[in-house]
Amino acid sequence: MASSRGKSFIGRFGVHIAVLVFVAIWTIPTLGILVSSLRDKDQLIVSGWWTALSTSSQTEAGRTDAADKQVEKDGKFLIMGNLFGAGDARTVTAFGTKAQQPTQFEAGTAADLGEGVTLQVNDDGSYVMSSPKAFEITRGQRVYFSASAPPRFTTDNYRTVLFSEGIGRSFINSLTVTIPATIIPILIAAYAAYALAWMRFPGRALLIAVIIGLLVVPLQMSLIPLLKLYNGVGLFFGVPAKTYLGIWLAHTGFGLPFAIYLLRSYIAGLPREIMESARIDGASDFEIFVKIVLPLSFPVLASFAIFQFLWVWNDLLVAMVFLGSGSDQLVLTGKLNALLGSRGGDWEILTTSAFVTIIVPLIVFFSLQRYFVRGLLAGSVKGG
């Protein structure tokens, strides 16, 4: 844009700030799940995801070893050990033996548990419990402590999702569904959109009206009649009712009204002189479409491709209904869905799979974005 230069510093700065604020607001929720997907399950609902980035202090419970680990030393019976597992970088600040007073004693001091039994917990989590008599407890003594923990992240969630069995296969299934289900409607819609924008034939206006009307058809409504139809066709020809072809066509059908609507409005806006010029050059409608309209419609084709891709890629319902759920047909969303527990609430898996599924659409978005070129029509016609 010509005006981008020569602007005052403030003006330019303002745009950056504005976009930054906007993007920040838009990104915070997403950032939330990114961080959440890297945290472990239990932490997720204990503290806000934004605190995951800083050192936090938590009050927890631990347990000493039981009597079987006791040693006798200087006439005293000792149980020694560490409340933390290996590699745990937390530090204990205080501890206690009653849930009501979990931070009764400072770390490093000895607490009197009565009957001569004492317990000392050090800041590295090691403890010594001593008693003049032999311990008889079968379960360790509960110790409450307050520990400060550095930020802790785990890639376990990603490991669970990415290395779950059959995921690669579902990935390919998803692509097999998505690629044609993106390209086919583009082709079909582009032809139709061109015809509706630039060709003369009876019933054109009516068709446009119908297309717009069909935009609103709720998908769920059509599932049963269609599946019935599929079953009928399958039965009649003795072929399986649930095939890739079936789901491509289904996605095509559901995506078409929007595709035609979007493409038509764009194609109708192309300069009329260019079409006329091509017509005079002897090009047929087919040639005009292929050689002039398609190349000039790249921006809108790219936009639609992005949306259709997204919608198909993230779809579960249509895939489950029109495609079987066998391993050679189960799509990625289906596979990830299967990783979730029946009662939901596996937020760590949800957040992680949300991120895993995002990647491919994002690649598509990036690679198609360069077709949003400026000034595609520049230099073609002169005038207003």
């Binding site: 006329e276 017509r279 005079i280 002897g282 090009a283 000034g375 595609l376 230099g379 002169k382």
Partner: protein
């Protein structure tokens, strides 16, 4: 064979009538130029011939065949659009080659013709550029090139040279003339605002006004014997000077009195009933010369002088309310602003028009032809 016949061709946008019934016969191989004021319907007429606009009335024949419903691609035409209409996503080369590719010509043939056209139009350097990286004139040349590489029966040019510089314009004009010569059977229809182009290229000029034909004729005919006031003023630059007058005497040679009661005798026949009627009295700026003696047509003060090099345009205030009289005098005649000047013209170069604007001279001519 590509003669064109237009019979009462009409075109309207909604209830806005643009063409009011055009009748025209164009012989195969003729070079026709459409001129007329901006917005008079030249482009519309051209587009109707091309088949880009559906005409709303009348008939259109190309080579004897009625083409009202024939699509543009089958009319055997090539067209240069006023607004270029280049394919923005194709290079200059592809823009020019497109039509031939569609027609299925061989690669070699396409290449030969595109390069030849590019050479003529000085576009060879730019063959790989996209239209958006071209200057206005360059774009226009591409549009011309696109038309001339093809081999149509009828060429339609809509102001093809308007964005070219004088030199290139002359060169291209000559190329078009040559092109014409090399294709004696190809009909060319050309819209221009440039008098020189119109005069030099045209076999016949069609003068349009408000969607109607005012006059059709060879350039010289229009120049010498404009059929009406409009044509008289439109053809020739600067335009013919028109002053109001009254017929004092009718007959083979008429006498007209005009500004300041000055009487001039004009060798144009007027019928007796014209006696005393108001007329318009016209003389071309270039036909005026500085009167040496008392035998002058106009007298006035020099208002303003435009030096054009070899000639100068002298604007003379002869005391009428409208704009000053213009005289095109040789560049070396000494004329001072504010000075008094007397202008004369040979009686043969004088024109008179009746109150409806029709030329008396013209009427005589047509009578002679009849």
């Amino acid at each position: 064979m590509a003669d064109l016949t237009l019979r009462d061709v009409k075109k309207s946008y909604g209830n806005l009538n643009i063409l009011h019934g055009i009748d025209l016969d164009i012989k195969s191989g003729e070079f026709i130029v459409f001129v007329g004021p901006s917005g008079c319907g030249k482009s519309t007429l051209l587009r109707s011939i091309a088949g880009l606009e559906e005409i709303t009335g009348g008939e259109l024949y190309i080579a004897g065949e009625k083409v009202n419903d024939v699509p543009p691609s089958k009319r055997g035409i090539a067209m240069v659009f006023q607004s270029y209409a280049l394919y923005p996503h194709m290079t200059v080369y592809d823009n020019m080659a497109f039509g031939m590719k569609i027609a299925g010509e061989s690669k070699a043939e396409i290449d030969k013709r595109v390069r030849a056209a590019a050479e003529i139009l000085q576009l060879t350097k730019y063959l790989d550029r996209l239209p958006k990286a071209m200057s206005g004139g360059q774009r226009q040349r591409v549009a011309i090139g696109r038309a001339i590489v093809r081999n149509p029966k009828v060429f339609l040019f809509d102001e093809p040279l308007s964005n070219l510089d004088a030199a290139l314009r002359v060169a291209t004009r000559i190329e078009i003339a040559k092109l014409k010569e090399s294709m004696p059977n190809t009909t060319m229809i050309y819209v221009t605002h440039d008098q020189v182009e119109a005069m030099t290229l045209a076999d016949r000029i069609v003068v349009l006004k408000d969607g109607r034909i005012e006059q059709v004729g060879s350039p010289m005919e229009l120049y010498k014997h404009p059929g009406n006031l409009f044509v008289a003023q439109f053809i020739g630059s600067p335009a013919m000077n028109i002053v109001a007058g009254t017929i004092e005497r009718t007959g083979e040679t008429s006498v007209v009195s005009h500004v300041g009661g000055h009487k001039s005798s004009v060798p144009v026949a007027t019928p007796s009933e014209a006696q005393g009627k108001p007329v318009s009295f016209g003389v071309r700026p270039e036909d005026l010369y500085v009167a040496t003696g008392d035998d002058y047509l106009f007298e006035g003060l020099v208002d303003y002088v435009e030096q054009l090099g070899e000639v100068q345009l002298v604007y003379v205030d002869i005391g009428r309310a409208e704009q000053p009289l213009v005289a095109k005098l040789p560049g070396n005649v000494e004329v001072k602003r504010g000075a008094k000047i007397r202008l004369a013209a040979s009686p043969d170069e004088l024109h008179i028009f009746d109150s409806e604007g029709h030329s008396f001279a013209r009427r005589r001519l047509t009578a002679a032809a009849a």
